[in-house]
Subunit: 286 residues, 2 copies
């Protein structure tokens, strides 16, 4: 974590465990030509909470501290940032050591009920999270206009990324208007969104005026994680599943899929979107 | 499961729980046009083994019995097909009820050690599986020629699929030569490969003369699952991660990525591949 805490804000003690994100390998193409290409890293990172093994995440390794923090938050092991004293990542042993203030009471009980979700598609506990969705209120007054949406998609396209260099990773980004506030890539799309959630938490960002972008498919768990961050807009280069759409409708999330260049599809929450043709009509009518 | 057991082969009692795989939704595009499109289903399927809750899989629902069987096999909860007495899927309650012959002794202990893997990227237990890789011997004498490889890619392209209709799913297929033996799609790429593993097990197929195709990225766990099926060839439309490649090299798997039309990249196990230029050279020299 290269960032520093905003003044007056509590931060856990975090390591800054950098690691090479791509490596060069020799491959042979269909013409028999040898060439060197880049492929993304993938590393096991075993999370220990107060010396008890919790889980092993397979990650690119670009933002391990934020990933661990966001994982603990999204899995609802921790609820307040100051419950976390420190996160120390050591790539030598592939371990992230988390120290909490008071321990995590529910650790044992929680591990006994696993829910494997769609992402991979076999993921994380989220049975309980579903019931929490009722409590989520996304800002009904937030607005996103079409010009900003297209600018966001273009901004992601132009962003220097592991994806462009090596492929085979998913990216997530958070925008305020057309300004990119953060961008995280990982070999798994859930890791990328967890790392974003971790960074948002550290920076004290609430989501109500933000836009969340992901390259990944919008399965139920992705939509839920977006909604949990309080972000009313979710954009994806990919499409949505039926349950992803149902979740979006349930929490009144404004959901765009198939975002590419000027193109997109608006699936839900149209009341927050200022379409260009409406904008033009407005201009003509006024 | 519409298939019937080969004569003389043990099969568990399996339900045949069909469910609609796509649904139609109304969306709005960038020109403000409303249109109806298809999106894939995503359903929770909670697996109970001998009435004990094991896991909830989020799935498209196309092959639930094979998925559950393959999941149990790939997670190494069961080792012989006749350990499984029956798998009954009931979509009304989103449950798959598995009855085993003698119970699964390791169930409780196994659940306490979770490994969340890259796929989503937060998946399944596989710590122990890594150590098993040493035991895998893939057929060193198997061969795949370039013409067959291109025919396989073309066959997948032409196959009628949920992906073509609705997008947002991953597909897996198994080929013998250029003949497609099975094809499974799911919202998660791990579910698709688990369902393939389940079907292969039911049909008594061993992998040594087969080719495995997936649309998904080749992270470590995908490569491991391919190797566990005993299939020496793994093809993907996508790329590979560093650890995926390391796993392939470790078990001497022949790995192709970026397969599209005539294009591909050969990452490992070149000794099994008969390249066209070599084939031509052979023809010229003889």
């Amino acid at each position: 974590m290269k960032q520093h805490p905003p003044p007056g804000v509590y931060w856990p003690v975090l390591s800054d465990a950098a690691v090479p994100l791509v490596s060069e390998v020799l491959v042979t193409d269909e013409m028999g030509r040898q060439k060197a290409i880049h492929i993304p890293g993938e590393r096991p990172l075993t999370v220990y909470v107060d010396k008890q093994e919790l889980v092993t995440l397979m990650t690119l390794g670009g933002a391990p501290e934020a990933l661990v923090l966001g994982y603990l938050k999204n899995q609802r092991f921790v609820h307040q940032l100051d419950e976390v004293v420190s996160i120390q990542v050591d790539w030598e042993v592939g371990a992230a050591s988390v120290k909490t203030r008071d321990g995590i009471a529910s650790l044992k009980a929680r591990q006994e009920k696993r829910t494997v979700t769609t992402g991979c598609g076999q993921g994380t506990i989220f049975g309980d999270i579903l019931s929490d969705l009722d409590a989520i209120r996304l800002d009904a007054d937030a607005r996103l206009d079409q010009q900003t949406l297209v600018a966001i998609v273009e901004s992601v396209r132009q962003h220097k990324s592991i994806y462009k260099q090596a492929g085979s990773v998913h990216g997530c980004a958070v925008f305020r208007g057309a300004e990119m506030l953060m961008f995280v890539e990982d070999v798994g799309r859930h890791n990328a969104v967890d790392a974003i959630a971790g960074r948002m938490w550290l920076e004290g960002l609430s989501g109500e005026d933000l836009v969340f972008y992901t390259t990944g498919r919008l399965t139920s768990e992705m939509v839920i994680k977006g909604a949990q961050m309080g972000i009313p807009f979710l954009l994806s280069r990919s499409g949505v599943t039926q349950m992803g759409l149902e979740m979006a409708q349930k929490v009144d999330l404004t959901l765009f899929g198939r975002c590419s260049g000027e193109h997109f599809l608006l699936y839900s929450g149209a009341h927050r979107f200022l379409a260009r043709h409406h904008m033009n009509q407005g201009a003509v009518e006024s």
